[in-house]
Symmetry: C2
Subunit: 155 residues, 2 copies
């Protein structure tokens, strides 16, 4: 239940020539507190409730618990969420033995593109695609929960 | 998904001669905001995640969504909750055609006993047991989410 992820900015849209899956994601937060984030996500025709805890000291791993829920129920729960919905497309891109999740944001976060890679350990190496930019792992500003309150366009 | 409930204080412990079921409940909150309460509850050997919205204007009905979750997962989620766990016993008591849930609190809320009855409509009548005291429906002070932060013993 602890995830190790590293997050990066994305330099350009070259990843769009490489992705093998694309999903539309809308999500809101029942709590944006980084100590106990509660997220409602609709991903195409599926929906999830996800709870995340705080980052460990190195900022690389975070407690995460997720449960699939009914899409209609998720739509009702989204109405209860804090103001500031997140709307984005997620592209899955293979790079050697890893999969990058690349999120292109819309609405108030238009212009922001970030990529995440999940690792088996905090020291695991991975090949960096050419379009991968600056690392922003552990920077709360780039948490979706924070982007919902303080969106990219307002930076 | 909208519940209509009325809540009352309890005058004495006479209900303990009448109950047909008793459960121990421990619960914490991932959010205590009355607009979007998120509760983790362990009830004996079962566990639930519950989201509640705000009361309607009359204070009688409230959006409620509940999902059963794994008890071990609930224990992990409880560790993420805001400080202030709720510990109580719940007694189920039949009164004519209705069932009262009577909660006897322990710990920081020791001394508080409240009873709730669920109704089919806001105007439905019900028989009041003799041990039923003052109505406190819609008073946020008696929400478990608020009792976790501002417990009865501190009033």
């Amino acid at each position: 239940m602890v995830e190790i992820e590293r997050k990066f900015l994305v330099k350009n849209e070259d990843f769009k020539a490489e992705f093998y899956q694309k999903n539309r994601i809308t999500q809101g937060f029942l709590n944006t507190d980084p100590l106990r984030t509660v997220r409602i996500r609709i991903k195409d025709e599926t929906a999830f409730l996800t709870v995340k805890g705080k980052n460990n000291e190195a900022g690389l791993s975070r407690f995460e618990w997720e449960k699939e829920i009914d899409k209609t129920e998720a739509e009702a729960l989204l109405k209860l969420c804090e103001p500031g919905m997140i709307d984005k497309a997620r592209f899955l891109v293979k790079s050697a033995s890893h999969i990058f999740e690349v999120d292109e944001f819309y609405g108030e976060n238009e212009g922001l593109i970030v990529a995440e890679v999940e690792l088996a350990s905090e020291t695991e190496n991975f090949e960096k695609p050419k379009w991968l930019g600056q690392e922003v792992t552990g920077d709360p500003k780039y948490y979706n929960s924070q982007l919902s309150k303080n969106p990219y366009k307002s930076w």
